[in-house]
Symmetry: C2
Subunit: 200 residues, 2 copies
Amino acid sequence: MAKPIEFYFDFSSPYGYLAAQRIDEIAAENRREVDWRPFLLGAVFKTTGGQPLLDIPMKGEYALRDLFRSARLMDIPIAVPKNFPFMSVSACRATYWLSEKDPEAGKALALALYRAAFAEDRNIANPQGVAEVAADLGHDPDEVIAAVQDPRIKDLLKREVDAAIGKGVFGSPYFIIDGEPFWGYDRLEDIGVWLESGGW
Amino acid sequence: MAKPIEFYFDFSSPYGYLAAQRIDEIAAENRREVDWRPFLLGAVFKTTGGQPLLDIPMKGEYALRDLFRSARLMDIPIAVPKNFPFMSVSACRATYWLSEKDPEAGKALALALYRAAFAEDRNIANPQGVAEVAADLGHDPDEVIAAVQDPRIKDLLKREVDAAIGKGVFGSPYFIIDGEPFWGYDRLEDIGVWLESGGW
């Protein structure tokens, strides 16, 4: 089996949310797995001088329009949460904690967290909010809250973020396929072609 | 006949170059004209705090790779010119000067200038370089050099750039279709769907 597609995303990234609804399907059509790796875009912005998309003059206004238009075209429900942009560190830690034990459960939690934030306007910016989403999937909320505050998990996330930056991940969503990087939900189609054709 | 598609681009924008090779064809398939409106991205960056794509840490390196990959997929020859990024003000002025007299000739010059810069590594950063490309199309090079230095044409370009910023144009390429904005060469496919379907 070929190597999994590395899928990097920030839980506070709306285009990451859109990509998360489709990437597994595109991968499966090409007999690939997807390795979901949340990271913190804020840490990357310290390196690149980037800033949250919706805060950029002119571009931010356009991006919001493009986001809703893209979601309608892809038939994906989306609402920008009231607390946007929000801190995504708790969501990241909970995902890595659960993925350590069971990668599939980790991915299911990540998807549920994304939908909670961008389709249900739930607050996933703090440990309690994340634990509630995890509880919906049958996980013990107290265990989740403890995990999010566990120094070992904090350190694990820090290393993941550093590793992502080391790989050149500067935006969300970001994909790496056999070393080939793709940035943006709008590369999903190219990714499909790339997987099918083996590159061009 | 429906309103023309407004196509905004900076001559120094490689993704603008890619889009310029395709937009008229996409428009024609949907019985639309395209109004080519070069502008100066540098002037916009003063408003948005943006910076040339290839200069941005991490993102710039990726963008170069994505650019060549996208060009290969679209089967468009491209080479980033040695003097990149270059001043595009002379090319802009010559295009508006010629378009005033003959819009089709203005568009043909714009396309020839883009190809000179990005497919033939010719220098279009100064009046002489622009005049040489215009001469290839049968225009009088001395007339082009005079036009590029004409205060009336300088003022015309200034007003065009201000108007573009007023419409929210913050990047290149940028398209406006019946008031609907699309940014980026990677929206060409969406533009095709939008034109065909009348929007979604």
